[in-house]
Amino acid sequence: MTQYVDTKIRANLTYLGDLEALRNYAAQLESASREATQIVQGWRTAPDTMRYHRNNGMCSFLTAGAPSVTPAEHATLPYDALYGQCLTHADQFTMLATTLHGVSDSLVKAYSLYSQTEQTARRVVNEILEAGIALSPTTALYGLAAVPLLTPIIGLARHGEFTPVSYTNETAWISDGLVAGFTSALTGAAISTSLGKLFTTLGKSKAKLPKNIDWEKYLDSTNLKKLDLAQVFKNLFATDESNATFHKAATLTAPLTSMVHGEGLDVYAITPHAALPKPESIAQAYANVDALTADSTSPGYATVCIQKLADANGKRSWIVTLPDSDNHLDSPCAASQTMQLMSDSSRQRLDSTAVTFVRKAMQDAGVKNGDSVVLIGASQGGLVAASLASGLKGTYSFTHVVTASAPIANHEIPGNTFVTSVEMEGDLMPNLDGAQNPVRESWLTVQGTATNEAGATDTSTPVAGTGSKLERPHGMNYQRAAWENAVQAGSPAVEEHEAHFKQATSGKLVSTMYYQGRLQ
């Protein structure tokens, strides 16, 4: 017994061709598949109908007679052969239906044919939910109280079992709205930061959605003239509420964190027992993160691995594999750093000890301004990667960022940096940003869904090291299985990102360095 992963590939492939025509083709194949399925039903039931006619006792010859010795006044058919033919046809049409459905599904998945539609629908639902929570958090809490009642039913219906993880699994599609809505409500942040500015412009001192809207004031022509309505509309659907909340929270907790963890940072090189290989593919990159982070193979404290590459012309480039958080209080990558790394302020993110640690390690390894750097990180490591790629875009040339289970939707990573992300539905970590990752040619998100054996399909990928029960899909084994599943789909977006990663890491491995840090 093991757990399985299926994926959806969220990518923008409009540049490849007429996606609408491909979508119609996939729909046509699916419709043909349904027609074949109907034919199957007919062939499957035909033998029973014939048996009923044949064995009803009205004519004993019909029951026992063979067509080769048909006597006068009687009639028959080669029934046994016909039964066989019916089942043969049922099998043949089943094969047709299955293949057509499989091809249609493959096209939908590989070419992200409904990615945009699904993303938009999810966005709308979550924005409405978020606004509802912001307007009336108490009512929303009552609504949330219904979740424990409904989740077991939904979990049993969908997966045939109910575990504590069912709560996050079954509410994954509204998790963005819940996170953004409740974080806004708890910290008093506006539904969106920019919307807060709007109310400030209109004379409201508090950046909150007012309960009693004074429409006369808001619709006053003098006030309206102050506004760029296009900007207002855009801001109304901003997705940065959660990050704004983390910014506020990190500002409040920073002094306490410094007091507990210390401010001085000592970064030093170490030599682990086993060296990480140079990642030749994104799958290998995830395997390296796994090796760097897993309890059995990790060097203990959070360790960053920096690999120096050189191409045929001697031009150097770097692969920086980042650690996840650890549980040591004096580690620069303690779990408490997540708050700062989630801030909507780039300055605050760069000031976090996790980023400072990696920057120092990179400087010590010899990474120079303008060098090409590939960043790889999972969970908090992914947050550090996104913080570096967005905050130091003018310092280094970040060619490719590979993340897993990281809430980086609102980190402003430049468009010329390729971002490959894996996120699992039901995993709370990537939902902390309360938003979906942007969809663009250079940003690919593989959205995995974990399921047990009952829900697995022909295209599902088994997850290594899992048991019979549904569990929190945060581990690297889930992220790796999700990526493997996406690779098997043959998506041009996945292949393009693989090719880009290969090209960005094409240099020959010169050296591999490892660094740890301590707060003092």
């Binding site: 074949a36 009639a75 016909l82 499989g102």
Partner: protein, 161 residues
Amino acid sequence: MHMTQDDAMEHPSSLKPQLTSPLFAETPPLTQPPSQSQSSSRDDGALQFCDIPPLPTGPTLRPIVSGTMALAPAAAFSAAPCICHRFVEMDAALITRHVQGSQVALRTITDAINAYTLLQWQGSAAQTCQSKLESMRQLIAGIDDELTVTMRMTTIRGQRR
């Protein structure tokens, strides 16, 4: 178990109708075994029943005919075929209907497959899907042949008199 003519001669009562329902009331008792071979037709018009294989203990059944036929005089029954004809015709029609429906579906599927080509698309998924669809064309041709075979099997054996 089949009963031979000799068996019937030895145990004529075994062929005697045991039921006394109106359905069997007009059926004269069988006092003599059939004079001709069992596979031969009965032209005397005296009795219409399924004689191959005869039921070992129960009555031989006269075909049930529906509607006005059921009320027709006894002579009319001599020309009536066994009920098996109706069932066989229904089954043949059922298979014919399924074959025709399947052929229509095959045409729809073929049209759907031929409506577009995936070769223009990047990505190995397009190539994989295209080759699957190509092999489906061969499968469809094979199914079509098989349907023709099935259709031939709907030729009813045995003739009405």
